[in-house]
Symmetry: C2
């Protein structure tokens, strides 16, 4: 596994056109904090869309059914935070620290105006980034995520989730198929298709996350659940247009967290999908892409 | 005021092409139950879209910013239930009785497959119709409405609503502007534009609803709030594709009723709008029309 290292301010070593989620080479950018692994592909007139990943996910966990069509209208940049994949450093155990890594990355790439796709944990980093550096961000897609002070965020010890995580018969992406999709036949079929798509990239893959990654990120979730001061007051300061998306049967971050976001963010539309869980964007990828394009291009 | 009377089975006296929400003549169709006033306009390959009206609303309460663009892809049929406008008979005091009137109307017009736009009270009739005659309906838009067993449905005695309803300085559509939109400047501006659009039809208008209409329909709301048996069990039988829409600040039928619909209808997408009340479809009419077209044409 090799990765191209890019120094701060240096132009991309790889042109984006014609490159896809599967073929985009992993690049590294050195910053004032760490070296971050990332991939970039696509082109278009819209601001770049930076994708912020879910719990324990690496660059390899982005589904091309979503990221490739979106890359037809803009550049898509997949970001890997400190301590994941080939990014250096320790895994952050707070959303704020993860956000600091993201901002260092954005600065090193010279990004001045981006859209964000924050999925789950990544949606929390997106919200924090909107508070820390509002001018960097134009619009945000917040999928399967929760506000600070949200409820029942990634409690893997719950029976519904523990049963899946302790099932020795499930290997590789089959765990994600159970975690991200509902038990119904259509949802499980969509989950199998999702797993096949993730497996389609066979070269230049990232190291899989280990238990230390999970432990730090779970600590970040526990801190994110805490209510300090007036609940949801910070959301009023996030005036960016947002599209909040979730499945109504999400067991990992229940949909009521999306309701909280849509009710307290001043400029957020909410979209929910039926018979869908945490991975609603991958189950309904055609609809999600159409909605994301409508929202981003409006 | 004259209205064309159409006997059951007779072809429409008026061709729809070129006619709009403002110019569509009021027609009457005699049925086995009552004579119903209605208007029809538009054309296209999609099934007709039958529009079911809100509390005390008549045919004149449909906003052409929504109904005219939708009529470019399909025929739009505005239905007036018994005892409203020039429709004969007594105003129903149950959703089931209103549904019986709608089905008699659909039969008299020879409709065999329709889409429904049910707004508020009309959304309840749409749900009941889907239970009574599932084969008649292809897809449903359920806007600002609630399931049977829903909560806080049209309690006009609430301080937030009573203040508006008892304000003698508000005349005509200014009451709707306050009831259907939020107090924010952008929402109130959208409300003023809405009121202007409703006023644009100056001829062949319907008689305005009086207190007897309100009284019967309020009785229907009270009955609809009751939970008989397992709550929301009936929703599982409504397998039609649904798009549930509401404003997050709806005071008349709070948005949590839309959450209940989206969580219990097996095939419903939910869309909510920020800084919007009961009239979210009229505040965000461009977005609503685009979403309705996406949904109906999918």
């Amino acid at each position: 596994m090799t990765a191209t290292t890019l120094m701060p301010g240096q132009a991309s070593a790889t042109t984006s056109a014609g490159v896809t989620t599967i073929t985009a080479p992993t690049q590294l950018v050195e910053t004032r904090l760490e070296s971050y692994a990332y991939r970039r592909f696509g082109s278009g007139v819209a601001p770049p869309l930076v994708c912020l990943q879910h719990f324990t996910g690496t660059l390899d966990n982005w589904d091309y059914a979503v990221t490739d069509p979106l890359a037809r209208g803009r550049e898509v940049i997949l970001f890997e935070s400190a301590g994941l994949g080939r990014s250096t450093g320790a895994v952050s155990d707070t959303i704020l620290a993860m956000t600091t890594h993201f901002l260092a990355f954005a600065d090193a790439l010279g990004l001045t105006r981006v859209d964000l796709l924050g999925f789950s944990l990544g949606g929390m980093v997106a919200q924090q980034a909107a508070l820390e550096r509002p001018s960097l961000i134009r619009k945000m897609l917040l999928v399967g995520t929760a506000p600070e002070g949200g409820e029942d965020i990634m409690h893997l010890e719950k029976p519904e989730l523990r049963t899946i995580l302790e099932d020795r018969s499930l290997t590789g992406y089959q765990v994600l198929t159970k975690l991200f999709f509902t038990p119904s036949a259509p949802s499980q079929a969509a989950g199998q298709a999702f797993a096949s798509r993730l497996a389609a990239r066979t070269e230049d893959r990232e190291p899989v996350s280990g238990p230390m990654v999970a432990q730090a990120q779970i600590a970040a979730f526990r801190a994110w659940e805490r209510v300090d001061g007036e609940r949801f007051a910070k959301l009023r300061r996030i005036t960016h247009p947002c599209l909040v998306v979730n499945g109504v049967l999400d067991q990992m971050i229940p949909v009521r967290n999306s309701y909280m976001l849509a009710e307290h963010l001043p400029n957020a539309m909410l979209l929910t999908y039926p018979d869908a869980g945490h991975g609603s964007l991958y189950q309904f990828h055609d609809s999600f892409v159409r909605q994301a394009e409508l929202f981003l291009d409006a």
